[in-house]
């Protein structure tokens, strides 16, 4: 769906067209569910968050003025609902300590990873993502799976751009560290 097409669809939704809204739901439901999953770590709650987010979006679509991307605006709603659901003031944030992994270990973990079958690779990565903290897993998946820019992630999570960059760097290393540890356990 092109951006211009999406804006036309949003205009139709503003006029109350439910079929047009269905198109937006089909496009964004997987990532909305995913964001919920990263924060509440429970499929049932994640589904409820995604549903509530779409409902809220439908009811407040008039507030979307097109200044930012619709996806960023929408993911911000999902993120806020997910954080409220955890009943915490803030989600668990990543620690300040540097990750203890050398460049060699990163390269080795990567090389080991590439030797796995696709199915096993997905499983390993899934487990590794689950071991990250909520904020870390959200940032890294938004960046690599949804291809959101650092600026967009900053808008969604309300973290500063520099903070997102730092956390992204640390999370990359941490992910390789977890993959490396997982491999060691298997050995």
């Amino acid at each position: 769906m092109e951006k211009a097409d999406e804006l036309k669809i949003i205009e139709q939704v503003k006029k109350g067209d439910l079929l047009a809204f269905r198109l937006l739901v089909d496009k964004y439901k997987t990532l909305a569910f995913h964001i919920g999953m990263q924060i509440v770590r429970n499929a049932e709650d994640a589904e409820e968050i995604a549903q509530d987010a779409f409902l809220k979006t439908y009811q407040s679509i008039d507030k979307f003025k097109g200044e930012s991307k619709f996806s960023t605006w929408f993911y911000r709603i999902v993120f806020n609902l997910a954080v409220s659901k955890t009943r915490k003031k803030r989600i668990e944030t990543s620690d300040i300590d540097e990750v203890e992994i050398s460049d060699y270990e990163i390269a080795e973990a990567y090389e080991e990873f590439t030797t796995l079958e696709e199915e096993e690779r997905s499983q390993q990565l899934k487990h590794a993502i689950e071991k990250l903290k909520e904020e870390e897993s959200l940032i890294i998946t938004l960046f690599y799976l949804n291809e959101n820019s650092v600026e967009e992630i900053s808008e969604i999570t309300e973290l500063s751009v520099s903070n997102v960059k730092v956390k992204l760097h640390r999370t990359r290393k941490k992910l390789f560290q977890i993959l490396s540890e997982q491999k060691m356990i298997e050995k």
């Binding site: 439910l18 990873f113 760097h169 993959l179």
Partner: protein
Amino acid sequence: MKNKYAQAYKKNKTMDENELNNLSKKLFENYKLQRPPEDFTDKLMLRIEKAKNPVKQEKKVLGSKFMMFFIVTFSALTLFGFIFQDKSNTSESGFMNNLNLHYFDLEKLTKLFNFHIEIGLFAKLIIGSIIVLVIIDLLTGSVIDYFIDSKSKKKAGFEN
């Protein structure tokens, strides 16, 4: 050949941010996100439809329907009483006093239970209308439906 790539980093090669980014990107290649349940969209559309037609409005419609049926029954009983009015009564009190509701004589009915009360004509008509409506509702099961419906609507309603 194994570890050839990694070995390079053992020999003091450093990994810059771009390299780390590229390796991370490759990790996520072909990785599929967990999808929400199949009926996600249908369930959502149903919730939106319900949110568009709040429970309060439906209750209002049901309430106004009850009033309409009550007025119709009340009028029907009055008309019925007028048709069967006591023709022998020639006093000047007119229509209201001549209304014949002997087919619905609540006073006789109360005497059956060993007590006696004076019930006015309008009270008779109102009580009569309510009893008729309740009997119809019970026979058609709509009273039960009404309670079940209002309970389920409350549960399914959109929470703001």
